[in-house]
């Protein structure tokens, strides 16, 4: 019974922790502009992250190795370094966006300018990483993130034409006013928001932090196979609420406050309060994860001791990298860079960089000298291979599309 409760809690944490600022922005913008015509991209992304995270979790539990550890080992130091630089840069963009997102959520609740709150948020993020135990961190912000279910409540309250919604989702087309280029661009954005690399760096390093063994594989699978798809449904709820409320009003999502607008307009002040808590939890949790990921990937490439499972002084370089990354993200945020734009770039570039980290994991997951008899089965390999091809195609077309659509404005 206790075990069931632990698994249940793990799934809830996975759902609440699934959505971050990238998903909030991408799903809202797409819902407002494309309705449900891009719902398939979310589904595609969710299946992708389920496959990817299952492999990473298994590799971490069986071989005890997190992703970036293996990147240098298998790709060599040169390719590994190029990989590290690209991943670190994109992760840094994401960290900046999340920190700004937290600040904006707090500013919406307090009417203090978000810029003034950024240093406070940066300090808070560092403090939580420094002092709060790993599992507690995940649980608290994961469960609080469930407040975002208020988007689903919003959709239900509006009482939409469900048949119509499903029809659009299953018969996607490019709506009037958009081009094929912006359509594919936003598909990539949704895909990148669902399959964010930091999620995987954090997930696999976290598995080592929590000392997973083969016995934890079942729990890992439950979290991933149940939690992530439900998180994807939550993303679709955000998309639907934007479709139903923002779309008809012609509101384009250019600010984070507009993401919360559907909830506020349908559920009033209570809804607004709940969604702000959810926004805070989702972005703060993601800020923790991206800050730690910055430390993880550099430490793992260099072979340094890393992790929260040892005393901070025993992983000094790791903690220094985390601290400096948060500081740099704070400074970048204070330059008044547009948080929504930074978010957009981070998710799109994340999508383009996916093959770099996906590829070595796919190879290792098939290597018996690391995995023993827990290598990929044929079915999983088939799906994983298809996704590798998808990721490579996405990687090639992303930058050209970014230029052609001028960052989505078409």
């Amino acid at each position: 019974m206790k075990r069931f409760f632990a698994v249940f809690l793990g799934i809830l944490t996975a759902i609440g922790g699934f959505v971050d600022i990238g998903d909030l922005v991408a799903n809202s913008q797409t819902g407002a502009r494309f309705g449900m015509n891009l719902a398939w991209a979310v589904v595609l992304g969710v299946i992708g992250i389920v496959v990817y995270a299952e492999m990473c979790g298994r590799v971490a539990a069986v071989a005890g190795r997190p992703v970036f550890d293996l990147v240098r080992e298998r790709l060599g130091p040169r390719a590994g370094l190029a990989n590290l630089i690209a991943s670190f840069f994109i992760n840094f963009l994401t960290l900046t966006a999340e920190v700004a997102g937290v600040a904006i959520a707090l500013s919406l609740a307090s009417s203090v300018s978000y810029l003034l709150l950024i240093p406070f948020v940066a300090f808070l993020v560092w403090l939580v990483i420094w002092r709060m135990p790993f599992e507690t961190m995940e649980r608290v912000f994961g469960l609080l993130g469930l407040c975002l279910l208020v988007f689903a409540v919003t959709v239900w309250k509006v009482g939409p034409d469900w048949g119509g919604l499903f029809h659009t989702a299953s018969h996607p087309q490019v709506p009037a006013g958009e081009t094929g280029f912006t359509y594919v661009y936003f598909a990539i954005a949704l895909f990148g928001a669902a399959m964010t690399p930091y999620e995987v760096f954090f997930f696999s390093s976290g598995a080592v932090e929590e000392h997973w063994t083969e016995r934890d594989l079942a729990t890992n699978r439950a979290n991933v196979l149940i939690g992530f798809p439900l998180g994807g449904l939550l993303s679709l709820a955000i998309m639907a609420s934007a479709d139903l409320i923002l779309g008809p009003a012609g509101i384009d999502v250019g600010q984070l406050s507009q993401v919360a607008l559907p909830v506020a307009s349908v559920l009033g002040r209570v809804g607004l309060a709940v969604v702000l808590v959810g926004l805070f939890a989702a972005t703060f949790g993601a800020a923790l994860e991206t800050a730690l990921s910055a430390g993880y990937i550099i430490s793992q490439y260099m072979g340094w001791m890393w992790g929260k499972y040892v005393r901070p002084r025993q992983a000094s370089r790791f903690h220094l990298v985390v601290l400096l990354s948060i500081g740099a993200a704070m400074i970048f945020g204070l330059t008044r860079v547009d948080p929504v734009k930074v978010t957009e770039y981070s998710i799109v570039l994340s999508a383009a960089a996916l093959p770099l980290t996906y590829f070595p994991i796919l190879v290792i997951a098939n290597d018996p000298s690391y995995m023993g008899d827990k290598t990929n089965g044929r079915f999983l390999n088939a799906i994983a291979s298809i996704y590798l091809v998808i990721l490579i195609v996405v990687s090639i077309i992303t930058i050209p599309l970014l230029i052609i659509t001028k960052g989505g404005s078409g």
Binding site: P77, G80, G303, P312, R313, S316, R317, L320, S369
Partner: protein
């Protein structure tokens, strides 16, 4: 051929080094090889890991060499600190297990500096976060 066959690039280079407690202490940046005066054969005599070693392997010999020499000046001018004799290896698996403490290796030099000058001054740096 008797004896275990290993492929240096696949199984040794860039693999994780761990000390006798299982602590992570660097990656194998390179391998030192010497010709035996008796048999004339080439043997791998040591792992190379530490400040500057990876840069030297990737072609930046001058910069890497400068970093390595600077580190030696600060820590131990007598010998090449980046060399870890092969005899210290207790296991050559996916991870290389060494029969020494991480503190005694060159790979801990920068860690020690950061700990003593920066992180060690932050309150709470000794505390294990309560599980």
């Amino acid at each position: 051929m008797t004896g275990r066959v290993l492929y240096a690039g696949l199984e040794l280079l860039d693999h994780q080094l761990r000390d006798r407690e299982g602590r992570l202490c660097g990656n194998v940046d390179d391998l030192e090889i010497e010709r035996s005066p008796d048999t004339g054969e080439l043997y791998v005599t040591a792992f190379v890991a530490g400040p500057g070693a990876l840069l030297q392997r990737m072609g930046r010999r001058r910069l890497g060499g400068w970093i390595e020499r600077s580190n030696r000046l600060v820590n131990d001018p007598e010998r090449d600190r980046n060399l870890i004799p092969l005899s210290l290896a207790s296991r050559l698996g996916p991870n290389i297990d060494l029969a020494v403490d991480a503190e005694d290796l060159a790979t801990s030099d920068t860690e020690r500096w950061v700990r003593d000058h920066l992180i060690g001054h932050l309150p709470g740096n000794r505390h294990r976060a309560p599980e």
